[in-house]
């Protein structure tokens, strides 16, 4: 660890013109420079935005299980930057109840906290660190407040936190030891009872829960989190399109330029482009989309084109094959563009007329909806959960019945008949809060639980 940095980062340091700066350590289960999942991207964006405010000393602790970040005999390294740490996680982690079995971890964490002396320890996810980390921090550094941003229904549902039944992919409304054991027959109801008790025991130490959507918050309150410790606050949106940074302006201040609307004049033959962005996994509803496309083709609808930007290479082979077969059948009105670099997402979105989110699980607070609205594109989405909350029908976009390809086909046929439905939405689209405002809301939340003003 850098000795010099621990000197320059003395606790309560008064910076000219700033008063006492908040000291925030953001922890995430992976590291945004190692993997590109939602939680680590959100954590990285938060750190960047906090730093850009000029009022926060922000540190990042991510995890890695990749051999390329291993250093012999070390568990904590700084491969990327001075205020940026990586915990090399051993494979002994118990993913069932998020229990860390690394006997060295508590000391690693406490030594780092001693060095950084944060006012706020903000977790994006608790897996890999283990839920016990909350108790370890509270017992040893009671002055540090613990914030946890919830991602998916991870504590509630063993099926990757999706609250979808394992075999049937049916939506699940509530956990129970018996219901969970039906999804995982090799585990009994008592295992799920203990899992919940274990996780709940340690979530008790969290001072503030942040949920990116009301829907997610309600599910967690129903599960047992205290209402008075939970706020709804969106994640800091991901880094905007990479472009040469003009002089001193930070990434967080870069804005997307206003996008001119697209008008369909009578007789114009340009197809209506409907874009799907993201991982092509079964729960993202790709099958619903392809079936709807087939229905459009059967109805000789030729002015709607589905543009798919995404990757299915990390999906189970069987599913990949099903996707490839389905793509082959509907090739006329579906274009598959393959994986894209996330820094290009804004440019790609501005080239479509609407963004489609056909997920067959609840979704949390999909980043893709935030991105679509930022680019002034209406969203066509399933009518449930985090999607329905983020998209007001008739104002931000259109809904169809979740999992129902006929319902989606009907919406698309309606759009085909009257493309102006999409352009007319532009006047009412919600404007996502800019990065600075979301960062400021986080800083206010930190103050509300005791961080320096």
């Amino acid at each position: 660890m850098n000795f010099e940095s621990s000197v320059t980062l003395a606790p309560g340091a008064i910076r000219p013109g700033f008063g006492v700066r908040q000291r925030v350590l953001v922890l995430t289960h992976s590291h945004p420079k190692i993997t590109r999942g939602g939680a680590e991207i959100a954590a990285g964006s938060l750190v960047r935005a906090l730093r850009a405010s000029g009022e926060v000393e922000a540190f990042l602790l991510g995890c890695s299980s990749k051999p390329e970040t291993e250093r012999l005999g070390l568990s904590l390294t700084q491969p990327f930057a001075e205020q940026d740490f990586v915990y090399q996680a051993p494979s002994s982690f118990d993913h069932f109840k998020f229990a860390n079995r690394d006997a060295k971890f508590p000391k690693i964490l406490l030594d780092l906290l001693d060095e950084i002396k944060p006012d706020i320890v903000h977790f994006h996810h608790y897996t890999v660190f283990g839920v016990e980390a909350f108790a370890i921090i509270k017992r040893n550094r009671p002055e540090a407040k613990i914030v946890l941003t919830l991602h998916e229904f991870l504590a509630i549902c063993l099926n990757h936190g999706q609250m979808v039944k394992t075999k049937s992919l049916q939506l699940c409304d509530a956990e129970s030891p018996m219901a969970c054991s039906r999804c995982f027959p090799e585990l009994g109801p008592r295992d799920f009872f203990l899992r919940k008790a274990y996780i709940r025991t340690f979530l008790d130490y969290v001072d503030l829960f942040i949920s990116p959507s009301q829907f997610l918050a309600d599910r967690y309150i129903e599960w047992g989190l205290p209402r008075d410790k939970l706020i709804v606050l969106e994640n800091v949106p991901p880094e905007l399109e990479a472009r040469p940074a003009p002089t001193e302006r930070s990434q967080a201040q870069v804005r997307v330029r206003p996008v001119p609307s697209v008008k369909w004049s009578a007789g114009r033959r340009r197809p209506i482009r409907i874009g799907l962005f993201g991982q092509l996994s079964p729960l993202k509803g790709i099958k619903v989309l392809l079936d709807a496309a087939k229905e459009l083709a059967a109805n000789k609808i030729e002015n709607v084109r589905i543009e798919i930007f995404g990757d299915y290479s990390s999906q189970p082979l069987e599913f990949q094959k099903a996707v490839i077969d389905a793509l082959g059948e509907v090739s006329a009105n579906v274009r598959f563009h393959g994986p894209y670099d996330n820094s290009k997402v804004h440019r790609l979105m501005r080239a479509v007329d609407a963004v489609l989110v056909p997920s067959i699980w609840w979704e949390n607070s999909p980043v893709v909806i935030q991105e679509a609205l930022t680019n002034r594109r209406p969203v066509i989405c399933s009518d449930i959960g985090g999607m329905a909350e983020a998209v007001r029908p008739g104002l931000d976009g259109l809904w169809f019945s979740v999992g129902d390809s006929m319902s989606l086909a009907e919406v698309l046929m309606e759009v085909s008949r009257s493309p102006e439905i999409l352009t007319s939405l532009e006047a009412t689209l919600r404007r996502p809060r800019p990065v600075e405002a979301v960062a400021r809301a986080h800083m206010e939340a930190y103050r509300a639980i005791g961080a320096p003003k």
């Binding site: 002994s92 860390n100 006997a103 971890f105 016990e132 108790a135 370890i136 009994g188 025991t201």
Partner: protein, 351 residues
């Protein structure tokens, strides 16, 4: 098909043994017998896995054949005591008020759950002793225990046994090492519901000199009752033998916010003074693996004029295993052996 016979004292070193079988019509046959190649629990399991008795055969079968045979094999197995490795995780607690003794077998991960919950609510002057009765899990438990100490910062002791001995002997090893004024025998699949459970049990034990053993209110994970004290009942399907039963098990019942008398309490969670436990000599190790020894202990306390109580306020969860394992014939016959032994011991007791 075949024969099972109990023939005591046939061991003549250097001589081979054979069975001489005389039929009713006078024919006689000889059959050489192999010397025993199993001993201890494997031999007991092997024997108990080989027969099924009707209710009307139980008494004769166990009185003449299986009872004395298992009793002898069990006594022989207990002659060799396992080495005990005492592993202190964290500094031992100075003059503990109570010692919790937990035998650990199979699901060793329950240790992590229990310690997590204890680290939240259990007073720091109680001692926790795990008796690992599953030598093959030693490495796994060492690593898990080290991680638990690091993250929960709650000292505890693991006593690792060099070979598997079963429920009563494992608890008795824990008792031997215990230093608390009170002892709490606890199963590894029992988890606190009320955070004050142990304080309540100790206070109730102290409340009246005529109280010997205090049990807890145990629930299943769905909130239905598992234990509110034991009763005794003769079961006609098992030769009218007396069994300890759990009234209202699996039901939803409302109990007073106090305590109630019981004829016996389950060993899954019971509290008494260490002095009493030692005076009783711990659990009777003649019961094999784990059945009836808790009821037996309560009845022996009763012989000293001490009664059992259940504190309904001390609520815990008992996540008793599902019954798949019970359907194996040896397991059923083992229960019947322990039941037989209980009938012998309490032949003259009025139930």
């Amino acid at each position: 098909m075949g024969f099972i016979a109990y023939v005591p004292e046939i061991h003549h070193p250097g001589e081979s043994i054979y069975a001489e079988i005389e039929m009713r019509d006078g024919r006689i046959g000889f059959r050489p017998l192999q010397p025993a190649f199993f001993s201890g629990l494997p031999a007991i399991k092997e024997l108990l896995g080989r027969f099924t008795l009707r209710s009307d055969e139980l008494k004769e079968g166990f009185d003449n054949v299986f009872g004395p045979a298992v009793e002898t094999m069990n006594a022989f197995r207990l002659l060799s005591r396992p080495d005990e490795d005492v592993l202190n995780f964290g500094a031992p607690i100075r003059s503990p008020r109570a010692t919790i003794v937990v035998p650990l077998y199979g699901r060793v991960d329950f240790l992590e759950y229990q310690l997590a919950f204890f680290s939240q609510s259990l007073a720091s002057d109680h001692e926790i002793i795990y008796v690992l009765d599953d030598p093959e899990r030693r490495l796994e438990v060492d690593a898990l225990a080290a991680a638990c100490l690091a993250k929960f910062e709650r000292p505890f002791t693991v006593i690792a046994l060099a070979h598997n001995v079963g429920y009563a002997p494992a608890n008795n090893v824990g008792l031997k090492h215990a230093r608390g004024d009170h002892i709490c025998f606890l199963n590894s699949d029992v988890f606190p519901g009320d955070p004050d459970w142990l304080e309540l049990l100790i206070a109730t034990e102290k409340s009246d000199e005529s109280v010997g053993i205090v049990g807890a209110l145990l629930n299943y994970e769905d909130g239905t009752l598992q234990h509110r004290g034991c009763a005794f009942e003769r079961l006609p399907e098992f030769a009218d033998w007396v069994f300890a039963i759990h009234p209202d098990k699996g039901r939803r019942v409302t109990l007073p916010e106090s305590h109630g008398a019981a004829l016996a309490v389950t060993g899954a969670c019971m509290v008494m003074t260490r002095e009493l436990a030692l005076q009783l000599g711990g659990f009777d190790e003649g019961y094999v693996i784990g059945d009836f020894e808790d009821a037996d202990l309560c009845l022996r306390a009763g012989e000293l004029g001490l009664s059992c109580l259940v504190d309904y306020r001390a609520q815990l969860y008992h996540l008793e295993r599902q019954s798949q394992g019970q359907s194996q014939p040896w397991r059923m016959n083992l229960t019947l052996y322990n039941a037989w032994r209980f009938q012998q011991r309490w032949r003259d007791h009025e139930f």
